[in-house]
Amino acid sequence: MLNPTQAPEAGPVSAAAEAPLPGGSEITKARSLGQDAWRELRSNPIFWVSAVLLVLFLLMAAVPSLFTSTDPGHADLRNHYLGKPEWGHFFQPDWFGYNGQGQSVYARTIYGARASVIIGFCVTLGVTLVGGVIGMFAGYFGGLLDTLLSRLTDIFFGIPLLLGGMVLLQAFTHRTIWTVVLALATFGWMPLARVMRGAVITQKQADFVTAARALGAGTTRILLRHILPNTLAPVIVVATIALGGFVSTEATLSYLGIGLQSTVSWGVDISDAQNVLRDAPHVLLVPASFLSLTVLSFILLGDAVRDAFDPKLR
């Protein structure tokens, strides 16, 4: 069950590097950049810690019923704030106590992972596509197009992610996970565009690109086949680290009351719990710890992946 989480960070690069290998018939072991990186990752304890945590969170998001059989929406006012955490009651509804509505904090925290994880992944996918395409065009074609796209990036950089997200989300009366994804992706693609542009400019000047051109390759082929695979490593690293940021921004938006509505989410729960912080701190601390751990494990993973891809840090 480790594969689902390993796929996002190790998959794309090694897949890109191995793709040209006509499958199966290889006798000698070819070591590509992706394979070297994987070798490096395997011996990095930080990678394993973050990977195990991420597997847990992904499982929570995918099948919350594995962890709890309690309905997160089920409210029983008899338990109103009274239910202090029972630290010994593992996986029981009252493990982490109850909130103001008498709902199980444990169940809500487990179910809350889904919104965070979906938003984290979808926003990251979105910004990688948008930023990647913009950065690639700016970097490869240069000139006026580069100037225009780079200034556009600068303008968007001037808008804080949180502020931009808030303003855009105000326009929606009914907000779902997808509106939040849209808002965050709209204001979050710039770092990816810059990284991609830089990587493409570096690769564009490489001799093998000139060589491909001299042998008659067209623009599309040079861009997609020769430049893109060489730019994936930095893009994946930046995207992984950014993912943690998007998860916490979503929680912040929900906390501020302009993120998700009527969805079980860590941000919403943290927001609801702030008024009773002194009487029932567990209602806030539990989802907040889960949130911190998720963000931390993504950032640690991004760090480990970056170290693995950068030969200078080995």
Partner: protein, 352 residues
């Protein structure tokens, strides 16, 4: 100095192709780079031609414009900052500089291919060599992946890479320098082009491997009857392979000659200086000759003959008048075929 040599026995390089014209003809080519500090004139009126089956060696030190000329022919010059203000590049009589980009792209790889100096950086590090070789067939001939791979193995065998079948999936960094250069050659050869431009193909290799790679290149050239432009700064590499030599200095051709003629009787002080600065066994214990000074700054090429500040024979005329590439003749007036020198004093240099 032994200058009395028979020249008649030497094979004179024929300019004519079977169809009556040379394969590639460069006419009065100028290339300049517009930089912040001014205009760097990298190529200033180069003329040369290559026919099928012929090898032209373009000789010169760094910054003499030999590689830039090749890039201009291939159409891989970065423009801007590069600019071709003047000149023609005729491939089978058609000017490539006025062609549509798409038309020109079709010539690249298919009709004219190029071999690069540093095979490690000229091969894509994340794609296997088999894929990169096969790409030639998939792009230009639309072969399937499987057929392209078979062709790639065939090519690798062609350039004598041992265990080609096992190594076709390997990545460039897994090959030795000599093997990588063979892969570069295989890529250039893939579509059996009419002309190959080799830009210092052996500079990054050690001497024993240099010889192997040059032999292979020469052999394949003979076999396919291709034209070959060999760009190098190494006089030793050229001697065995080339038919004729063009010596470049500061973006101009200063001397042209059939290969052996040039070594026997250089007609330009620069060529003479180059030949004299080759270490020789019979000069053991003596000081090695070196051409004084540095190659000119391309932003400020000296007036008159660009070589005049370094030339031991320089006179007043050399600083004022640019010498044209003049036909070189024997002392009795019989013209030497294929020879030219851009020196006011070529007579003194060759005969004196």
């Amino acid at each position: 100095m032994t200058t009395i040599e028979k020249t008649g026995a030497e094979p004179s390089a024929r300019v004519e192709d079977a169809d009556g014209g040379p394969l590639l003809e460069v006419r009065d080519l100028h290339v300049e780079f517009h930089t912040r500090d001014g205009v760097a004139k990298a190529v200033n009126g180069v003329n040369y031609s290559v026919s099928a089956g012929e090898t032209l060696a373009v000789l010169g030190e760094s910054g003499s414009g030999k590689s830039v000329t090749a890039q201009a022919i291939m159409g891989i010059l970065d423009m801007p900052p590069g600019k071709i203000p003047q000149g023609e590049i005729l491939f089978r009589g058609e000017d490539m500089l006025t062609m549509a980009p798409e038309e020109r792209r079709k010539i690249r790889g298919r009709r004219i291919a190029m071999i690069f100096q540093d095979a490690l950086s000229a091969l894509n590090p994340v794609l296997s060599v088999g894929y990169q070789l096969g790409e030639m067939f998939r792009v230009h001939q639309g072969l399937s992946k499987k057929d392209a791979k078979a062709k790639a193995i065939e090519l690798m065998e062609r350039v004598r890479i041992p265990a080609a079948k096992e190594r076709v999936g390997d990545y460039p960094h897994q090959f030795s320098g000599g093997m990588r250069q063979r892969i570069m050659i295989a890529m250039a050869l893939a579509l059996e082009p009419d002309l190959i431009i080799a830009d210092e193909p052996t500079t990054a290799l050690d001497v024993t491997v240099q010889a192997q790679v040059m032999d292979l290149l020469a052999e394949l050239q003979r076999e396919y009857n291709m034209g070959l432009i060999l760009i190098t700064h190494d006089l030793g590499v050229v001697a065995d392979v080339a038919d004729k030599i063009a010596v470049m200095y500061a973006g101009r051709i200063v001397e042209t000659a059939p290969v052996h003629e040039l070594y026997k009787r250089p007609a330009h002080p620069y060529t003479k200086g180059l030949l004299d600065s080759i270490p020789r066994l019979d000069h053991k214990g003596q000081e090695l000759y070196a051409i004084k000074g540095l190659p000119p700054n391309l932003l400020k090429i000296p007036t008159g003959c660009a070589f005049n500040p370094r030339c031991p024979k320089a006179q007043d005329i050399c600083t004022t008048e640019v010498p044209a590439l003049a036909a070189v003749a024997e002392q009795d007036g019989t013209e030497l075929p294929g020879r030219g020198s851009a020196c006011h004093f070529w007579k003194e240099t060759i005969h004196g």
